[in-house]
């Protein structure tokens, strides 16, 4: 899977310590989420550690995506969705009335299941969010664009056609562009909602390698239905299960423990493929 994508270099590890020192980047406390009065997530308490990859696993409909969108308050956009409980990022409550939501979403980037490049040029896809966050000087933006395209391994593929429509890229390239777009804002945390599931196996492998390379520089929370992938890339895993239509956190721990010596029998059944 690595192929010629092994060649790029990453910058110094600026954000966060190595992942073996668990230091919470996101603290979730008693988080509950209701759609139209119906509970979708039931009192989740969880720490997400700085610089690590945390995989959220569990069957469909157990609230993994809802949990993810609560972290950058994308749930605000969903009508009749209400969130209770607290989420602290770097010690700050994101539901505080004075929390700047634009700044929050700059700190917490998100990549969706299906790649969503805007119907603009490749360059404009990256410069539009940058301009929005005050990077208006052309040179500065161009530097960032080149850096993030290198980071996601797209630079060699697109550097001579940055003004081509982003929709002309292949699915895997589009998804890497979307990751680059999120990285361009220099986030601390990256939320990924099944970033590989809409891609073919080769493209999926490329994106997976990319996620591994981002480990340590960013705190990554990834939803995945691919247990083998979770096992390969994640440091921590959180297992969600659905009980009476409400998602609950069953077990959280080091990825190895979740997969090899789970404490809960549901977890054991799910990771061994007996349930779910």
């Amino acid at each position: 899977m690595n192929g010629d994508h092994d060649a790029f270099t990453l910058g110094p590890l600026e954000t966060g310590p190595a992942c073996c020192v668990p230091q919470p980047a996101v603290q979730v406390r008693n988080l509950s989420l209701c759609y139209d009065g119906k509970t979708a997530l039931d009192t989740i308490t969880l720490d997400i550690y700085k610089g690590c990859i945390t995989a959220l696993i569990g069957p469909s409909g157990c609230g993994k995506t809802s949990f993810l969108s609560a972290i950058n308050r994308l749930t605000d956009l969903i009508p009749r969705c209400s969130v209770t409980g607290r989420i602290l990022i770097g010690g700050q409550d994101i539901h505080h009335p004075r929390c700047d939501i634009q700044a929050l979403r700059r700190r917490v980037g998100m990549v969706f299941q299906k790649p969503v490049p805007f119907p603009l040029s490749i360059r404009r896809n990256l410069s539009l969010p940058l301009n929005e966050h005050g990077v208006t000087r052309k040179n500065e933006a161009a530097g960032i664009i080149e850096r993030v395209l290198h980071d996601v391994g797209l630079w060699d593929e697109v550097h001579d056609r940055l003004d081509a429509p982003a929709l002309s890229l292949s699915g895997g390239q589009q998804q890497r562009l979307c990751i680059a777009r999120a990285l361009a804002l220099n986030p601390e945390i990256l939320l990924m909602d099944e970033p590989c599931s809409a891609l073919d196996p080769i493209a999926s492998g490329v994106v997976e390698d990319l996620i591994c390379r981002l480990q340590g520089r960013y705190t990554i929370v990834i939803v995945t239905h691919n247990l083998a992938q979770a096992r390969r890339i994640a440091n921590y895993a959180a297992f969600f299960w659905v009980r009476e239509r409400a998602g609950q956190l069953v077990e959280f721990g080091r990825c190895q423990h979740i997969f090899e010596s789970p404490r809960h029998e549901l977890t054991a059944a799910y990771v061994n493929g007996n349930r779910g």
């Binding site: 805007f118 119907p119 603009l120 404009r124 539009l128 929005e132």
Partner: protein
Amino acid sequence: MMLSVSVRQRIRDFSLQSLMYLAVLLVSAVFVWLLADLVQGGMAHLSWAFLTESPRDAGRAGGIASILVSTLLILLIALAAAVPLAWATAVLLAEFVPIDSRFGSAVRFSLYVLAGVPSIVFGLFGNAFFSIYLGLGFSILSGGLTLACMLLPILTSTAEAGMRTVPDTYRLSAAALGMTRTTALIHLIFPAAAPVLAAGLLIGIGRALAETAALLFTSGYVDRMPGSLLDSGRALALHIFDLSMNVPGGDMPAYAAALVLVSLLLGINSLAMAFAHGLQRRCILT
């Protein structure tokens, strides 16, 4: 037995198809007949001078230059007043109000009703409100503003539909990148909806060009070249009506003027269809 069933089915198929072809033929025949009649009647009178001279002798002689200018001015005023209002309403309905909200439904309902109001009623309203109450008199301004009221429903509903065709994933992605709604609207949603907005605009222009009744009591029918927006001015459709109904011997110029009007409408509708087609092919904006 099997054979007879299949024969009966084939006869049914064939007759249904023939009926449909006949219907299509009739519909197109009406259009072709109308166009042929207009070309036959109007072509002889149509000339460069007809387009560049002002009418004389109540329109029997001369051309339609002043009429075209008045029509254009009325149209411009109507668009200048209606487009910002309609598009702002559409943004509110499509982007800020939940689709099933009471407020949105009430606004949409009032637009439907407005779309169904006969144009002569708009004319009377315009006369009472703009001409008399606001004291604008019979003028291009009151005509244009009356037309603006008529255009509101069509412009609003096309623009709302256009913005709803833009996938929600764009809005979510833009929000996830910390972009404000305004930025997303200006840089993503408006450009993506542009073909539909343009098509709606062209349909609106077509409506406005063809309007007669709403202008009868508002912009009046003085056929001089207008000196200002407060002058009365005669719209093209009204000119045709006046020539054919009130002016003995005005048939030839009426035909020629109708030919000009229909050519304009044809051109505008073709443009609108081209835009709509462009949308279907999901034009990629760079």
